[in-house]
């Protein structure tokens, strides 16, 4: 079987222009910090002055106190451990399956033609709609959570990686061919490296979906986990604990997105469409 790169050339999402930053260095960070601080202050004041009941919105101080309390008495750790395990396994499997499959689908035109309808259909289906099926197949234990997280995050990773492989610059292919590259060499020296930026973008998108998957998964018959903790706290009107859960998930998401963004930035400098 001969290896032929998929024929169509998709148009990449425009990369953010690098030189869009205006104003003073660090000005954005300062403005951001000030606006967040202002918001927290307003929130705290509204509750302290009795304008809004803490039952509905909690308050920054109450969230902090509750959060620290949960860490101090250790009641949060089992939930963290369970959600962490689900996330690592679900998202890890998604990356492990999505990246190679995306690469293969980008490279082998025929494989792409065969699998594309399924990928498209599943990508378009809200993954939460699959939850009842997943429970029928996997029950309500860990494997069900892993399955929903996997299904939530695998498609962004797969599709983005595939797009990366399929949008290789034709000029690079010609250069490689001119140097006598075999199909395998073309794959290794051109297709793989030039799809790294897309791959990272896919991981970043997948990450967000994986976090949604945690919360959604734990809403159905879980017995531990951050999502479960929030669910039970919500049912008993412990707004502070719900907020702690939200804050934890938001923080985890932001930290990991940051990390991947930093990686993307490093590769952005040589991103083909950025460079030309």
């Amino acid at each position: 079987m001969t290896i032929e790169p998929a024929a169509e050339v998709l148009i990449l999402e425009a990369a953010e222009p690098a030189e869009r930053r205006v104003g003073l260095r660090g000005e954005g960070a300062i403005l951001g910090t000030v606006s967040v601080a202002g918001f927290l202050l307003l929130w705290q004041t509204s509750v302290a002055m009795g304008w809004i009941a803490p039952l509905f919105v909690s308050s920054p101080a109450r969230i902090l106190v509750t959060g620290f309390g949960m860490f101090r008495d250790g009641s949060i750790y089992p939930d963290l451990a369970v959600s962490g395990e689900e996330f690592i396994l679900g998202f890890g499997l998604a990356a492990l399956a999505g990246i190679p499959l995306g690469i293969l689908m980008g490279w082998y035109y025929r494989l792409n033609a065969v699998l594309d309808p399924f990928v498209n259909a599943l990508y378009a289906t809200p993954r939460i709609a699959l939850m009842p099926l997943i429970i029928i197949w996997f029950g309500v234990d860990l494997s069900a959570k892993i399955a929903i997280i996997f299904l939530s995050s695998v498609f962004p990773v797969l599709v983005s990686t595939m797009t990366g492989v399929r949008t290789i610059d034709r000029d690079f292919i010609r250069v490689a061919r001119s140097f006598g590259a075999t199909d395998r060499q073309l794959f290794r020296t051109v297709a793989l490296p030039s799809s790294v930026p897309n791959l990272l973008t896919g991981l970043r998108l997948g990450l967000g979906h994986a976090l949604i998957g945690i919360v959604v998964g734990e809403m159905y018959g879980a017995s531990a986990g951050i999502g479960f903790m929030m669910q039970t706290a919500g049912a008993t009107f412990q707004t502070d604990k719900v907020m702690v859960g939200i804050a934890l998930i938001a923080a985890a998401g932001m930290a990991m997105t940051r990390l991947l963004k930093a990686l993307e930035k490093r590769f952005d400098a040589w991103r083909p469409d950025h460079h030309l």
């Binding site: 000029d171 690079f172 010609r174 250069v175 490689a176 061919r177 001119s178 140097f179 006598g180 590259a181 060499q185 020296t189 051109v190 490296p193 030039s194 790294v196 590769f267 400098a269 040589w270 991103r271 083909p272 460079h275």
Partner: protein, 271 residues
């Protein structure tokens, strides 16, 4: 250019009756690009190709490189028929097309890496000496986006030269450079070719560039291309920039210009 007569007469490239058609899927018509090219390039020679835009110069170069297959005719390099890209030839593309994810050193190493004959260390040494040859010492670890257009083009040339090709194919390599950089690069190229003893086929739109660099200038006709005329450049082999002001230089330029101009008229008349 001081080889003995034997050397000078050895044929490096021999193209006979090279015909090439493209099938245009959209208009569902066959487009005749090359209508029988006969061209011989001797060892150590630089032959420039000029001709109207779209006449098939790049296509001919691609055929010599083995990237496209002619419909008829024969192309031989050192007596061996060209069937695919090979290590005896290397192409310098118009767009520098450097791999943005590779450093200068690793771009230059590319061809040698693919070949897998040399050790990592030997590849590195060879690449470093080429980087020095094109005057980019100290930039080995830079990425292409950190270089100027002229520097990138020099990396492009170094990358093509690294596998020690017998025949270097250059497709308007200096087209995107400013006039001063181009003058400089022309001199550099001649030096490099002389030092490495490489034969070259050089496509350009700049007639003065063709005359300045070449031993002979082949004028392509309008599409479908044939060789309309071959102009011997009877300037001293050791070229210098002030030759561009010599009357003989001007005469050669005029002769070539007129030749292309007639073709352009044919082209517009045909449309």
């Amino acid at each position: 250019m001081t080889e003995d007569v034997n050397q000078r007469n050895r044929e490096k490239l021999r193209a006979r009756g090279v015909r090439l058609d493209y099938w245009n899927e959209r208009t569902r018509r066959r487009l005749e690009i090359l209508a029988g090219i006969d061209l011989t390039v001797r060892e150590g020679e630089l032959v420039a190709i000029v001709g109207p835009s779209g006449c098939g110069k790049s296509t001919f170069l691609a055929a010599v490189d083995g990237l496209v297959k002619p419909n008829a005719g024969a192309i031989e390099v050192d007596g061996n028929p060209v069937i695919a890209p090979g290590h005896d030839r290397a192409m310098v593309f118009q767009q520098d097309c450097l791999f943005p994810w590779r450093t200068v050193l690793r771009n230059v190493s590319y061809g040698l890496e693919l070949r897998g004959e040399l050790s990592r260390h030997e590849i590195r040494k060879r690449a470093e000496s080429l980087i020095e040859l094109v005057g980019l010492t100290g930039f080995a670890d830079s990425y292409p986006h950190e270089l100027s257009g002229g520097m990138r083009q020099r990396v492009n040339i170094a990358r093509a030269l690294a596998p020690h090709p017998e025949l270097l194919l250059l497709d308007e390599p200096f087209a995107s450079l400013d006039a001063q950089t181009r003058d400089f690069m022309q001199l550099e190229l001649l030096k490099i070719l002389a030092r490495t003893g490489t034969t070259a086929l050089f496509v350009t739109h700049q007639i003065d560039e063709a005359v300045f660099l070449a031993n002979r200038v082949a004028v392509f006709s309008a599409r479908p291309a044939r060789i309309k005329q071959i102009v011997e450049v009877d300037l001293p082999p050791q070229r210098s920039l002030e030759m561009k002001l010599w009357p003989r230089f001007r005469e050669l330029q005029d002769e070539i210009w007129r030749s292309i101009y007639q073709e352009t008229i044919h082209l517009t008349a045909a449309e």
